[in-house]
Symmetry: C2
Subunit: 381 residues, 2 copies
């Protein structure tokens, strides 16, 4: 009996009831039936983003599309933008900016480390003309969480928009759009929101509109002004991904019922237990103290072929954890624990890691990780 | 017992087995399991596009995103492009081009009429520098089908790419990418492909690559070069809409089993029956001889409030037909008959139209449409 366990950095496991909502009879999107679902989803997203802004846009796209939307709606060619790079997704902000002729001022952070908020203040003092600051909340490629609250404080006194890639962070780590003064944040469906991939959510604060009006980069599909106008009519400018939005109706309902603070603390507890389990096995966290609650990145044991071990685990036992990307390939493995996840999932994940290491000849003390997880879970509720 | 009947211009009804495929356990997209599904979908799309090109790209987006991809990958700022406009979707090509600073040479066609292919030859003789020609195969807003084969012949001797919006036409009307010499065609998931909305498919012929290499418009998410490179690795550059792609595996399988020629002729027969039923009721086709097999656009009876009648039909009987958009609002109604549709659906659709007209005080001879449909269906198999 091979069951499927997804401990990937996204997509996450989908709750059965969300799948059932996705599978409901198709409806036409130019009807009040769709509008009612859509407006409820938009309202619930405001709650998830902790924002009173009415402008939360739902794009039919991957998260990257939402990131591109943030760039093209706020900047003009030749504008300067500060980008925190410290992994594949921070680098993506820079790549998008460069594709559009935006002058990138990079803040490069060693992989596995978080940016010090002071660095942003320093960069913005030096580059007074920088119009936007792009930061990744949770850098999925390294397992790092950046201190967005601190960053927001550092950016506040400067004349630049703060734009956050919260694709992986949303519904896992606190993100207080309004309280922290974030101008724009983008989220994806397939992470903390417990949905299949295919939707990008972009929350735009009132404070961003002046820049949006001035931005001259070309755009059509990603145009926030079109999205705002359609949202005023309770719909989208282009055919929405209806089945995914129906699923979002259910998934966001679950988040609201649990309470977003409880969702955050559940993730904190489970991530803590995962990290403790990993350490008990004598393994080292790649991101150390900067480890996010989204996923745990672990240094692969020296000389161990982690990628074939991961493949074997998936093929034989149905458990998916993932290796490193690009420069980190073969050097780390990543255990996702976001979205539809509870304490027993962590027990399974650590048990699978133990099995994976043991069966492939890596010397670990079997059961030590699982029992430490059990201990942590029972001592910290 | 209110059942749901979707006779809209998209989305269409989703076959139960396609929904079941969409609802399968989520999988990770960087696995051979996903790659196998994805490559099969890509192969099946080649069949649907009737192309041997290996480059069929699947975007997580609405069809409009696929259109934008065609523009930004083939043109540079200031380039000239010929655009056939004769409805909302032809106009959309022009709007996208204009958003990117492309110089649009419009060929304006009266709503409800098809473009004469000669006009394209004429335009291209006059505008020798035009680099792309954008045409809509089926103009959903008016119900018109344009003669793509004839247009391809007219464009062939000129030095411009032929780019077709086949979003609604695909899997309904023949589209022979290779035989007709189309350079790029874009399709959407929610029409003839019997899928929920959220995927755009773009088939790129070898002949288009020279222009793609030269094109300087900025792009990131829509970049064909990125898509091609990832497709070579059996994947997508950004997280794909996994559940929709799993659904596509099933839906395209159904099309392949029926045989694309049979799919086309089924639509031709059902559309013919619909038109005959409408005419038997004394109503007039908006697109006359240019009526497509995707949907039937019908002139609303003089002085009749078609939009409230349509709303009542949907609310009370669960049958969705749609009214006109923008300039055509209140003037026409549209009956979609694409995708997962058979002869009994047409009986239901015409019966619903009769009910809708009759109950709202429009004088028609009850049963006359339905019996004409029955007659046509039995006489032409």
């Amino acid at each position: 009996m091979k069951k499927t366990y997804l401990f990937t950095p996204g997509p996450t496991q989908i709750p059965h009831d969300v799948t059932l909502a996705e599978a409901k009879s198709m409806i036409h999107h130019r009807t009040s039936e769709f509008s009612n679902i859509f407006i409820k989803v938009t309202e619930d997203l405001k709650y998830v983003f902790q924002s009173k802004s009415d402008e939360v846009f739902t794009f039919a796209s991957s998260g990257t599309g939402g990131m591109e939307a943030c760039v093209v709606n706020t900047l003009s060619q030749g504008d300067k933008a500060v980008v925190v790079r410290g992994g594949k997704f921070g680098e993506r902000w820079a790549e998008i900016c460069e594709a559009y002729g935006v002058d990138v001022i990079p803040i490069d952070i060693e992989y596995g480390k978080a940016v010090k908020p002071d660095l942003l203040d320093y960069a913005l003092r030096k580059e007074k003309e920088a119009r936007s600051v792009f930061v990744t909340q949770c850098e999925t490629s390294t397992g790092v969480v950046h201190d967005i609250e601190g960053i927001a404080k550092a950016v506040k006194s400067h004349n630049a928009l703060l734009i956050i890639d919260a694709i992986t962070g949303i519904g896992v780590h606190p993100l207080m759009m309004d309280d922290w003064g974030i101008d724009i944040a983008v989220a994806g469906s397939q992470k903390g929101c417990m949905l299949p991939p295919g939707l990008a959510f972009v929350c735009v604060a009132q404070s961003a509109w002046e820049s949006i009006k001035k931005a001259r980069l070309p755009k059509y599909y990603w145009d926030f002004k079109k999205m705002r106008k359609s949202l005023g009519n309770k719909t989208t400018p282009f055919t929405p991904a209806i089945s995914l939005i129906m699923a979002a109706g259910k998934a966001l309902d679950m988040i609201k019922k649990e309470g977003i603070e409880n969702v955050w603390s559940r993730h904190a507890r489970l991530a803590h237990a995962t990290r403790e389990g990993i350490k008990a096995l004598g393994l080292e966290l790649f991101a150390g103290d900067a480890s996010s609650n989204v996923l745990t990145a672990v240094k692969s044991p020296e000389g161990f072929d982690i990628n074939s071990a991961i493949k074997k685990l998936r093929d034989e036992s149905g458990v998916t954890i993932t290796g490193g990307q690009e420069e980190l390939k073969g050097k780390i493995f990543r255990i996702g624990h976001m979205g539809y996840v509870n304490e027993f999932d962590i027990i399974v994940a650590i048990s699978a890691v133990e099995k994976c290491l043991h069966e492939n000849g890596c010397k670990i003390e079997l059961g030590k990780g699982v029992s430490r997880v059990q201990e942590v879970l029972l001592s910290c509720k």
